[in-house]
């Protein structure tokens, strides 16, 4: 009990004194997750609106599948991307394994269903009348899509932010693709796992506190965005 209490106090001190190791890992986590979420959003927000605005056979099946993949275990994605970029894999020649770039690919794949699916439901929540109004005022197909996206900007941004949260807090991809290399691919989650197993509780707790704070902020902002 004492040890845990001391761990907490020391952890807070580490954060307050801006411990270089803690800061470095936090920044790297942010950078990788931010890059992943940017790429995933640039692909999936437009893709989501394409799916939303078009009717094609198998559409509802596809949406079901996307929603099922929201909670796909991160190690499954890790394994999938590992097979893709390991030496023998189709992308093996690029040397992406155990690099931040590989992690970005993995996280992008991981959060694609969440951003895609939530974008589709965000757009579905916009009334048909908005679309009709845009069309009747002379909007072409692209302008109409854009108007509907702007109308749903709160929930769409919430989808993006949830993707960010999932990328930042996942372990599977970071461990299997990144390899937890110190100063290179070590991020908050993998650092916590390692430090805990090595008994460095105060660092683990410090990193854990940071992760929880970020999650709290993300969730609060997501809540606000829903009605924005």
């Amino acid at each position: 009990m004492d040890e845990i209490a001391r761990g907490f106090i020391r952890a807070v001190e580490l954060i307050i004194e801006l411990n270089p190791e803690v800061i470095e890992v936090t920044l790297r986590s942010f950078l990788i997750a931010l890059t992943s979420v940017t790429i995933a959003s640039l692909i999936n927000v437009p893709l989501g609106s394409l799916i939303h605005f078009h009717h094609f056979p198998g559409r509802s099946g596809l949406i079901n599948l996307i929603q099922t993949l929201y909670s796909i275990p991160t190690v499954t994605v890790g394994l999938f991307v590992f097979l893709l970029i390991s030496r023998e894999g189709p992308l093996g020649g690029y040397g992406l394994l155990y690099t931040p770039y590989g992690m970005i690919i993995g996280q992008t794949v991981l959060i694609t269903p969440v951003i895609l699916g939530l974008t589709i439901s965000a757009l579905s929540s916009v009334s048909e009348d908005i679309r009709d109004t845009a069309v009747s005022l002379g909007a072409d197909r692209f302008q109409t899509m854009w108007t509907v996206i702007v109308e749903a900007r709160g929930p769409v941004l919430a989808a993006v932010l949830l993707g960010f949260g999932r990328a930042l807090s996942e372990v599977g991809v970071a461990m299997m693709i990144g390899g937890n290399i110190r100063g290179y691919t070590r991020v908050l989650t993998t650092a916590i796992a390692l430090e805990t197993s090595m008994g460095n509780l105060e660092i683990s707790i410090a990193l854990g506190l940071i992760l929880i704070s970020i999650a709290l902020v993300v969730n609060t902002v997501v809540g606000r965005l829903q009605g924005w």
Binding site: D129, T133, V135, E151
Partner: protein, 255 residues
């Protein structure tokens, strides 16, 4: 000159026949009233005229030509202004809403400013530019929607029950605005289930029921109609022919 012509238009939605063999022409410069009870197909008819809903049979000619693809429909639609029954405000300010159609047409900032100002002062909403549009009252929204449609200088104005959800005073203001547009030579189609309003606003009236045109002509012609359908409609409108005559006179006098 014909601004828009519907030739044998039928439309089906979700397996339901909504309009059947409609033949209507709108002459350039006239105000055509479409009257009919709720569910008759007025809204659908205006959507067909705006080239949003495509007929399952028949064709729609705008300025003598039938648009062949979505590109041509868009081009024609950009010359038509429409105010829906329950206008929806887009995100942003009153200015954003009125400017929407102009921005889409890629007009210059100066031109947009000028036209928004003119359209807003036309509908008596000068000074409303910066207000958030979604929190306006019903009557204000209706006026913004009208300004939004007028700002693009349409060659045809489609108004779907423009006063259906408004109080009498606001209805009067809207009717005045429509009359003014008409005086400037705007070709207008206005749907309503309000007979006196149709008589006040329209040069010609088309009565539709159950998706069919049952009668059309000047108000006087309809008034003296001995068609069972027209009588049935007057009845459906809770008005006996004698009331209809009274309202007609009343509309004349109060105009």
């Amino acid at each position: 000159m014909r601004t828009i012509q519907l030739e044998g238009v039928s439309i089906e939605k979700n397996g339901r026949q909504i309009l059947t063999d409609i033949n209507i022409e709108v002459r350039t410069g006239e105000t055509l009233g479409i009257i009919g009870p709720t569910g008759a197909g007025k809204t659908t008819l205006l959507r067909v005229m705006d080239l949003i809903d495509l007929p399952s049979k028949g064709r729609v000619l705008f300025k003598g030509e039938a648009p062949k693809n979505e590109g041509e429909r868009l081009a024609a639609r950009r010359r038509i202004g429409v105010v829906f029954q329950r206008p929806v405000m887009l995100r942003g300010t009153v200015y954003d809403n009125v400017a929407y159609g102009l921005r889409i047409r890629r007009l210059s900032k100066d031109e947009i400013d000028e036209r928004v100002e003119a359209a807003l002062s036309d509908v008596g909403l000068k000074g409303y530019e910066r207000r958030p549009a979604k929190v306006l009252s019903g009557g204000e929204m209706q006026r913004v929607a009208l300004a939004r449609a007028l700002a693009i200088s349409p060659e045809l104005l489609l108004l779907d029950e423009p006063t259906a959800n408004l109080d009498p005073r606001t209805s009067y203001v809207i009717e005045e605005l429509i009359s003014r547009a008409k005086m400037r030579g705007m070709t207008t189609v206005v749907s309503t289930h309000d007979l006196p309003q149709a008589v006040r606003l329209a040069d010609r009236i088309v009565i539709i029921m159950d998706g069919r045109v049952v009668s059309s002509g000047s108000a006087d012609l309809l008034l003296n109609s001995d068609s069972d359908d027209v009588r049935a409609f007057l009845h459906a409108g809770m008005l006996r022919p004698v009331d209809w005559r009274f309202i007609h006179e009343f509309a004349r006098v109060s105009h």
